[in-house]
């Protein structure tokens, strides 16, 4: 280890160090003024964000190849840190009015965020495991943050049991890959496969176990059972962060591991990945139709979006389109993050204590009483469906293009058809908002309103000028040191 290793992971060090200092600072802040902690942690994340942006460009590895610094990692780090800021903006007023304002919320959020930024840089299966735990363990606590509310506690327990179950799969898979390739670094695994030194059966089983473990984290069907309950039970601000951050981190690992290291196993893996992506899209979208609770609806919609993103994994063995495929996945993750934070912010605006105001029917009359809020929600729903001119449309467009370039026409057709199905339940929200009479109860809170405003604007404006973002995302190729 030397000094340049430390500068490579400086955004991460800043986050962790700042969070540890905040634990001490918290002692000196009186109980009524814990809102200061939100500001302080936002400042920490912003410092980390500035450092991450300054580091832009260049490729290097650090800590003997355990972490890698490349376009992919910088892109994801910036996405994670901005998500962290949005998560704080959503939580600030919400946890106050739910009576769960404790400063540990922000500290745990920062620790979870540091796990995500580590995941963006991880180039070794062990670091991927460590990052996975570092981001998950604070999230287990955050999911149960509204205790003694029973559904929050239940959500935390379910998330914890299934989360640690999936981590065990990652551990055992990593052990088998270590046995197959005699190393756990991704360049090392690639080298072992290239020279033919790897035991392919062990490697295959290991890759399958890692796929199951990470599949739980990003909720690929059939490993999605926990998602609706956890998303519904956890405090909404936590759910928003979980839906964006944990899923993006899981995909960071999936893309890094499967696109780079396991692409020689494609003959066996592609049919499985094909089936998983198709199943996820179909089941997620069809189950979402019958949901009456908006949090459950968004949970199933997030499963469906997992399906769309995991479509790109079927192109793992086609190196000529890897750049397009990874770029499309990263672009989709940005689109999903922006739209999700907006939609969840609207959900939080209408949510009352005791879980009231969470049914789709509670949105009746929103179009007449609060036209701006209803317009924003419409934008988010259209973006989730994939209607132009929104980010969601371009995300789907790039994904389908990458899949078609890979020659998987059938999968792309399933994707388009399930998108049509999804229009039914997304547009039902819009119909209820505009066509039904009702007296919605809305809270005007500065940070929530500005998050909704900014994400709605971004969903439309960025989609019109999307080319630079996609170019940047496709430059996020993974650096494989020789």
């Amino acid at each position: 280890m030397n000094f340049s290793d430390l500068t490579t992971i400086l955004p991460l060090i800043t986050l962790v160090g700042w969070a540890i200092i905040l634990i001490l600072v918290d002692l000196f802040i009186p109980a009524q003024r814990k809102g200061i902690m939100a500001m302080l942690s936002a400042i920490g994340i912003m410092i980390s964000l500035v450092i991450a942006i300054c580091q832009f460009g260049g490729q290097t590895t650090a800590f003997s190849g355990m972490v890698v610094f490349d376009g992919f990692s910088v892109f994801l780090q910036i996405l994670f840190l901005i998500s962290g800021l949005a998560a704080i903006a959503l939580a600030y007023d919400y946890i106050k009015r739910q009576g769960i304002e404790r400063s540990e919320y922000y500290i745990l959020l920062m620790f979870s965020l540091s796990g995500m930024t580590l995941m963006a840089m991880a180039d070794d299966l062990i670091i991927i495991f460590l990052a996975l735990e570092l981001l998950s363990i604070p999230l287990y606590v955050l999911a149960g943050f509204a205790n003694p509310r029973l559904d929050s506690e239940e959500a935390a327990l379910k998330y914890f049991l299934l989360g640690s179950f999936s981590d065990a799969f990652v551990v055992f898979g990593t052990a088998l890959v270590f046995g197959a390739a005699r190393t756990t670094t991704i360049p090392g695994i690639i080298a072992a496969i290239t020279v033919g030194a790897a035991n392919l059966i062990l490697l295959m089983v290991g890759a399958a176990l890692i796929l199951i473990g990470l599949g739980f984290k990003v909720s690929i069907v059939p490993f999605h059972m926990w998602t609706p309950d956890v998303y519904q039970g956890a405090p909404s601000s936590v759910t928003a962060f979980m839906a964006v951050g944990a899923k993006t981190a899981g995909f960071a690992a999936l893309l890094r591991v499967f696109m780079a290291a396991f692409n020689t196993l494609a003959v066996d893996l592609v049919p499985v990945l094909w089936a998983l992506a198709a199943l996820t899209m179909i089941l997620g979208n069809i189950t979402a139709i019958v949901q009456g609770n908006i949090k459950r609806l968004l949970a199933y919609s997030s499963i469906a979006h997992t399906g769309y993103i995991s479509m790109v994994l079927v192109t793992i063995n086609q190196s000529r389109i890897t750049q397009h495929a990874v770029g499309a996945a990263l672009f989709y993750l940005v689109a999903y993050a922006v739209t999700s934070f907006g939609a969840w912010a609207v959900v939080i605006t209408l949510e009352h204590s005791e879980g009231k105001g969470l049914n789709v029917e509670d949105y009746a009359g929103l179009g007449r009483k609060y036209p701006a809020l209803a317009a924003a929600m419409t934008v988010f729903m259209l973006s989730f469906t994939g209607v132009p001119p929104t980010l969601g449309f371009l995300g789907k467009f790039y994904i389908f293009r990458a899949v078609l370039e890979g020659g998987y026409v059938g999968l792309a057709i399933i994707g388009v058809l399930t998108s049509l199905v999804s229009a039914y339940y997304y547009l039902r929200v819009v119909v209820v908002m505009y066509m039904r009479e009702g007296e919605p109860l809305v809270r005007k809170e500065f940070w929530l309103s500005s998050t909704i405003f900014m994400t709605a604007i971004a969903t439309v404006i960025v989609s019109i000028f999307s080319t630079p973002l996609f170019t940047w995302a496709s430059k996020g190729i993974m650096f494989i040191p020789k």
């Binding site: 062990i126 460590l130 149960g144 205790n147 327990l157 914890f160 005699r182 519904q232």
Partner: protein, 100 residues
């Protein structure tokens, strides 16, 4: 020295027992114990491969995994105790307050 495949076989059996335990048992503590068994199966595989290859890496990874497992215990037991306070039960079949 025994061939490494014996140890990996044992690790695989432990992992399978752990997986079955998670899927079959309904008590949150027992499920959690089964998860620990799965993690230790991973540890055993790491150590035996490290010994067979003469590489120290695998043994160091086991320390990472053990530390992480300890952190999980700290959080997990707290969550289980917490839900026991509210519900007087840790049977996961009764964790059904959310439906949809």
């Amino acid at each position: 020295m025994l061939p490494v495949s014996y140890f990996i076989g044992l690790a695989a059996v432990l992992f399978a027992i752990g997986t079955l335990g998670v899927l079959i048992r309904r008590n949150a503590i027992i499920i959690f114990m089964s998860v620990e068994l799965m993690l230790n199966a991973g540890n055993l595989a790491f150590v035996s491969f490290a010994r067979a290859f003469g590489l120290l890496d695998g043994q160091i990874f086991v320390f990472f995994i053990m530390a992480m497992a300890a952190a999980e215990v700290a959080v997990g037991l707290a969550l289980i105790v917490d839900i026991f306070h509210t519900k007087q039960s840790i049977d996961i079949d009764q964790m059904n307050s959310m439906k949809g």
